[in-house]
């Protein structure tokens, strides 16, 4: 049976009814894994029940994989147990660090893009694969500052990690869009650096402009609609990616009617379809 592209929403308690009422238009649901690490047996069982209704993918936010500091084995055990219980179709984490020197940053921070963080991330991915049994899809993060101590651009750094670790990339297109406008690089050029066979998942989100008029930054806040350029990037990925894509629309608050979110998913479907059509035409 041919595997097709899948389109879904991030699971949020406020969206529960909207999601469960529209499973004919939602192929997959992404659940934040960390919310269930200390959850009761009953809450974890509820997650299993959700996974029985629709495919689920787990998304971690606290492992801190892109760091020269080894990832915490206890946290990997937690996600391994959750994967065993829920049997998600995949799991993912961020190419970010979230703690250092015993201090929790409380944020997905972009690490210095250096040989040390490349090798650290690869080692952490290896440990994750050993303990969980499956490699996570790794997600690029947005940053408002160019990480100090970097000696290479983001596309090079990301592609080195996923290529050498043989992991898949969860390409967050709004993070890419935000970084490209904040640091003035071409996002298409970025995408062309990524091995197309290693792109397996996409995040879509929205953000807002912050800062003074002459020093504005695009903030990825997950509170706004997906902007047009992100759909253009999605079409581009659809034209290049060789594998089926899992496309997740992330919305963390300021919720519009669920129908509005579903329309954004439809826009995403059409963008990927356009990209796939381009790919087919080029192949023919």
């Amino acid at each position: 049976m041919a595997v097709r592209d899948r389109f879904g929403l991030g699971w949020r308690a406020k969206l529960a009814l909207g999601i469960l009422s529209n499973l004919d238009r939602i192929d997959i649901v992404e659940v934040i894994a960390d919310d269930y690490f200390r959850a009761s047996h009953r809450e974890r069982r509820a997650l299993r029940t959700l996974a029985a209704q629709t495919p689920v993918t787990l998304h971690g936010v606290s492992l801190g994989m892109a760091s020269s500091v080894p990832v915490d084995t206890k946290r990997l055990d937690q996600i391994a147990r959750l994967c065993d219980e829920v049997e998600p179709v995949s799991w993912s984490e961020h190419l970010a660090f979230v703690r250092g020197g015993g201090i929790e940053i409380g944020h997905l921070a972009a690490p210095p893009r250096s040989a040390a963080t490349v090798s650290g991330a690869i080692a952490n991915l290896r440990r994750a694969r050993e303990i969980v049994g499956v490699s996570p899809q790794m997600e690029n993060v947005a940053t408002l500052i160019d990480p100090p101590g970097s000696d290479r651009d983001e596309a090079t750094w990301v592609s080195q990690i996923i290529r050498d670790s043989e992991s898949d990339l969860l390409l967050d297109l709004h993070n890419l869009h935000a970084n490209s406008v904040n640091f003035n690089f071409d996002p298409i050029d970025y995408i062309s650096h990524i091995p197309p066979e290693q792109i397996s998942a996409i995040h879509l989100a929205g953000g807002k402009w912050i800062g003074r008029p002459n020093a504005r930054r695009l903030l990825d806040d997950h509170l706004h609609d997906v902007p047009g350029p992100v759909y253009q990037l999605l079409e581009e990925v659809g034209a290049r990616a060789t594998r089926p894509l899992t496309v997740i629309l992330e919305r963390d608050g300021n919720f519009p009617p669920v129908e509005w979110l579903l329309e954004q998913l439809d826009l995403a479907r059409r963008a990927v379809a356009r990209g796939r059509a381009r790919r087919s035409a080029a192949a023919a």
Binding site: G10, R12, A13, K14, L15, A16, L17, G18, L20, S21, N22, L23, E30, I32, D34, D35, R42, E43, R45, A46, R48, T49, L50, A52, Q53, H59, V61, S62, H94, A96, V98, E104, I105, G106, H107, L108, A109, A110, E139, V141, A142, T143, L144, D172, N175, A178, H203, A205, G207, L219, D220, D221, H222, E250, D252, G253, F255, P256, P257, V258
Partner: protein
Amino acid sequence: MNPFDLTGPQFLLFYIIFAGLVLSGLAFWRRRAELSPSTPRIDLSDPYLIAFLRGGEKEVLRVATVTLIDRGLLVRDGPQIKRAEDASPDSVRRPIERALLNKYARAGKVSWMFEDDGLSKACEQYAVTLQRARLIPDDYVYRARLVRLIIATFLLTGVGFTKVMIAIEAGRTNVGFLIVLIIASLVIAAAVSFPRLTESGREMIEDVQSLYRGLRNRASSMNAGGASPTNAGGAGVEPMMLAAVFGMGALAGSGSSYAEGLFRGHDKRRSNSCATDGDCGSSCSSSSSSSCSASSSSCSSGSSCGGGGCGGCGG
């Protein structure tokens, strides 16, 4: 040690422990037998199906009535309800709603709906669906329960009445306490053997309450027949689903807060503090009421952000 050689009070203590073990084993056996190895798949967006699972046929009728009132198709008239002048049974899709609109073409007491065979028939489809999913007992489950009850009855009466016979043969007649204990243990055994839901059904309603906890947290912002200001869960169905999942009591503070009073006194089996496998029309407590949903802040638990205060999500 032969327990039948024990003195009267000693044997009573022995029998209480024995009956406790038998009843615990009976409950454990039933739970194991009725727990599906795989999680059943049902339509979790159907409020009437959820209402039936949580509280049975009467709960479906309560939820449907409140929904029709909120939609303006039924109107309250003191202790009675009736179909709105401009409402037509053909304007609704679900059989239970149509049956209710037909039933109340003329004004009638709320309690009438609980005695109407036609309305019961309109709920049959939910029973069939839930039986197929092994969430409420079907004939096979009933038979298995009966077999377990017969075995427990054999044990409880066998041990108890053996001692009664021994006592009578010895010329003693003070066996009243033991007979009371035997009867009580049989009553408990019957109750333990025949709950309304299967174990999978009990877990399913708990899971549904956990998944829908976000609804409960914002009941106060729901308007009757409409959606909450966030409007995030499907306009018009939020109060309906809230009532279906948590009971009429959960509507307190919402635009449909009249609902609990509407049915008060009309169904003696209702309870305000129901367990999840009983008939109940009121506020079942759900799992943790804490919400993981994000507020207007850009980063919070439950989001894909990396934690607390930050300059955007980045993830």
